[in-house]
Point group: none
DNA sequence: GGATAACCGAGACGGTACGTCCGGTCTTACC
DNA sequence: GGTAAGACCGGACGTACCGTCTCGGTTATCC
């Protein structure tokens, strides 16, 4: 696990790294991202500011690492989305899990912070894409391609649009707090995305 | 136009107000929202800082007003979404217009700034909801309800979900710059949202 | 007295200015010049750092002003050196006063600080020359010229050298703590400087 | 030469020591004492910071050693001041040599640095006194005592005052750059110190 | 038409945080 | 055990803005 980090970081203090990530998570929950400061993180972590600037370019980057570390802890990392043979069932399962995650205050605040910082900071966006969003996006596409192969998803569907259709509404409602995040909402979104908004032929 | 502002603002300097909004728009395009500062706006507008703080609570609020003023200028304000009788056609029209708007650099930066600031600032979010998003959301719902009445949209569809399905993907691609905003993309999204992701029965 | 400051400083807070000068004097005595910091002065004075940087270029400049302010307080400022008609008597008087001043802990530390900072900082040196040393030097020269006129000082004496001869030893012993500063020492220096080091002709 | 250092320093790297002293001299001339840093010296010398802190307590101490090393190089070290039998002649000779030394940019900056650091740092002052100033002071006193013995200097003269009278003005003019350092100035000072400021009896 | 009060520009003020430099200590790997 | 390298905690630097607060100098109503 530690060995994963490259040789150039051989002398890096694992203690300080953990303290910084923990402090960042704690503080962002306590005071919000806007009032989160590198100075504050350093103080809370009992660390010199330089130790943060040496390894991260911004408070957003610290937070991204903190979030990644959070995932690594609850290991057995899902390397793949579930595939029971039925797309709708699986998507509901996944979205319900996402609902739970976004309702987890440990994740909610830092994730919200990242979501609003990424469009402002191209460097952070690139890292986020590479380390977090990209891989996840690929998993989603794999699952959708499997569905295409067995005729559960239109063959000519644009997968990026499809992903947006499925995961977008949840994310949007969460980010703008425009409604409660419930398992039922997850189900509704999946059904609507798959079936479309038109009245279903032969219904009623 | 000026008369629209309440009596309490009778003594307010229209010159300063315009200068501030213009300066805000100019600066946010030049330096980005993060480096935009009340101090900078005041300097650029040739105005005292207090004149800004007297009328707006934050730089975000200034920008919101600036954006609203921008809309008021290009008058003939569409008080309603087009209704040709065919929902798909109308939605494509509207989304193509949105595509053009979001490609307009005059609007792009301030809009992006607001989009990332709103989830961080409840007060700004409330104002945004009341002055800009709420009314627009209502127009969209009206158009969708009309479609429901003539059987072009499922009667049991959750309109909030529907709106997210239709307008979400465009907004998301724009905000994260995850692909080009083209008229064709607008069309694809409308079709996908209406028809759903499942293979259409009897197709092929 | 306050009116002496130029119009450009009309809005300057006299309260803050006094607090800063007082804090600087207190701190330099407590912790020494090396550990004196602008940050520390600001904190002690209950003032923002910018308020110091707005009006002074360095901690040395603050200290110089503090010292000048100290002199202004004990008014009745001697605009001229005493002239009783006898040079030796007057010089002893003046040097004994200097001895007392340099033994005053209120003056000792800041003066010592300035003395070591001036050779390092040309800007500070210029200000010091203009505001403090220059005028004093002029007074000394006036007194010595008077002595020349009545034959108590060699007509061809270089006044700069003369001043160094008279005031230098005291200053040197003080700066390097190479011996106690006593009235007797002052007298010895005056006698030696006036009579020279050679054996006096006809003595003994 | 190397053997002069005590046994405890047996393992000390002479290469590093030289590199540090050279780097210190170079840097103090380039950037001035204030901006001279242990970090900078280490980097320039290609040496670890610890190697400096192991052997010297401060940047001032390094500089003092560097200066001492400089003297040791131009060997044939004058263990005694010249004594031709005429004090005035000898003093002029010595002061003219000092003038030349102080005009040497290789010596000027580090010496100036030391001169301003010593009154701030008692430890450095002690070392300076022991290693450099003390011995020199003793040489001066020896020469002056010899002069007293043959009636060229007043028998009751305080030698410390005498030294200050003779060497002080030069040092002061140099430190405060209050005038050019010339051989003529050296001569004037010697004459004035010996003869005193009073008009000479029987002149004219 | 003279008082008066809100608005305005300017910018000083007490603060917070920035991102950097360096101090002095400690650790690692080499020789 | 000395050394090069450099991470570490900490303190201060000088700067940028925050949001509040005078300060005079216009307006622009209202008596």
């Amino acid at each position: 696990m530690t060995a994963r980090r490259p040789a150039s970081e051989a002398r890096r203090s694992e203690t300080s790294r953990r303290a910084i990530l923990d402090a960042a998570l704690d503080l962002v929950s306590e005071v919000g991202y806007t009032k989160l400061s590198v100075e504050g993180i350093a103080a809370r972590a009992g660390v010199g500011k330089q130790t943060i600037y040496r390894w991260w370019p911004s408070k957003g980057a610290v937070l991204l690492d903190a979030l990644l570390a959070l995932n690594e802890n609850q290991d057995g990392e899902v390397a793949v989305l579930p595939d029971s043979g039925d797309l709708a069932t699986d998507l509901k399962l996944v979205l319900r899990a996402t609902v739970e995650e976004l309702n987890d205050s440990r994740i909610d605040e830092p994730m919200r912070a990242l979501s609003t910082e990424i469009p402002r900071d191209p460097d952070l966006a690139a890292t986020y894409e590479e380390r977090l969003n990209g891989p996840i996006q690929e998993l989603k596409k794999q699952r959708l391609r499997a569905a295409q192969r067995i005729g559960q998803l239109a063959e000519d569907a644009d997968l990026d649009v499809a992903i947006e259709m499925i995961w977008g509404p949840l994310r949007s409602r969460w980010l703008h707090r425009s409604g409660p995040l419930t398992p039922e909402y997850a189900d509704t979104v999946v059904e609507t995305a798959l079936n479309g908004l038109r009245p279903r032929r032969g219904e009623g």
